[in-house]
Symmetry: C2
Subunit: 245 residues, 2 copies
């Protein structure tokens, strides 16, 4: 039987999603918890990888069990064996052709920033940016990301993908309760794409980059067109869409 689970995690203590030797990873912790609960050795497939330090408010994953298991008991049972910074909040029987990665037709990320001075409560949770950052400029600039475009300038080197074209359906910046949130949805994301986009928006917000230069950066199709990258600890994977878009 195939199972789909939904979970959240704080990535601070982990070397990212993907299993690696000698590093605590979210995928590794899940596989271990499933093994301890069911006795079965499984491979857990997520909607995608997240890097070290990146969080997820919602990550979707699937795995197969030989013996069937009450999904409700799966939630409590897995949480019993998982550390507190990884929590499963939903478990469902899934059709045999459900695939957390290949079936995912859309994803949303949020990148969280706040104005300096630094606060302990937000350490490892959001990026402390300049106190006088101009959010209206960032909001206007973010619109340039929307549409089906070649985002090659927003892909970290060393990555390998069939195409660098992605369809960004939402790119919004809002400030609320002291947090500046960049919310971006697309049919898929290139490696480090959101963190590089965020760095561009931050550069616009502090006046280091003109708002209208984003179109130019996209046009260059070259990672060298953007200086720097936003730190991992402000990034949250927040939603996944399955099925027809």
């Amino acid at each position: 039987m195939r199972y789909r689970i939904e979970l959240d995690y704080i990535g601070t203590a982990y070397g990212g999603w993907q299993i690696q030797p000698n590093v605590r990873t979210v995928q590794g912790e899940l596989a271990s918890a499933i093994n301890r609960l069911t006795g079965e050795a499984v491979t857990v497939t997520g909607s995608g990888r997240t890097d070290a330090g990146v969080h997820a408010l919602k990550q979707t994953a699937h795995f197969d069990l030989e013996k069937s298991f009450d999904p409700y008991k799966l939630v409590g049972g897995l949480n019993h064996f998982l550390p507190g910074d990884i929590r499963v909040f939903g478990a469902f029987e899934a059709p045999p052709d459900f695939h957390a990665r290949f079936g995912c037709t859309g994803k949303t990320y949020v990148y969280a920033m706040y104005r300096k001075p630094e606060r302990a409560i937000l350490s490892d949770r959001a990026w402390a940016v300049a106190e006088d950052i101009d959010v209206a400029k960032m909001r206007a600039a973010a619109k340039s990301f929307v549409g089906e475009k070649d985002f090659a300038s927003f892909m970290a080197g060393g990555s390998d993908t069939r195409t660098t074209v992605r369809n960004v359906t939402q790119a919004e910046v809002e400030e609320k309760n002291g947090i500046i949130r960049f919310t971006v949805s697309a049919n898929g994301f290139l490696y480090n794409m959101v963190r590089i986009m965020t760095k561009v928006l931050e550069s616009v917000g502090v006046g280091a980059l003109a708002a209208d230069s984003i179109a130019e950066i996209i046009e260059r199709k070259d990672r060298a067109a953007v200086k720097g990258i936003a730190p991992a600890h402000g990034l949250y994977l927040v939603d996944q869409v399955y099925g027809e878009v």
Copy 2:
């Protein structure tokens, strides 16, 4: 010269505020950072202690330096030597008779709860309570705490104090953005007082205790009148008042 500083911290990694041997404490980290920055060995006095796992959104402290130091540079310099989960956000020259503990005439705490299922994002930050907890009942019950009363039933054993009478000036419960906050202000708090109050409110919220039994519990003046205590990780010291009330 005496300095007053304001800081926040996440208590998860610390054995509380107060310096102890072989345990990382907030007071210890501060003294060490001041020593590394200024070369002086100082005693840091806080507005009060917080237990292991308890957080502060604002804690006030003072210390004396032989050589004077630009307060603005004190903020950046201390943060350079402090871990990310302790951040100084204000530093000021203070009159020689300013005392962070004895001069403190009022304090506010917030206790944070949320409805199950558990979420990783709130692990070590808020208490996961029953999904169907009745916040209206908790709000009504909290009013019984307000006033100058003997709170002996709300003091953990083994503590020593001149009087168990405290003047509670605010005790409110509200639910917002998925967080249930119990906010309580008083001229001072007994040991574990807020966590024991919170446990009583939670018991009322889940129907294990009648709302009108709080007056009775206060009347008994006996810690045995309350079963249990809310966990440390939901508690935040959020404000201090100095001077005339």
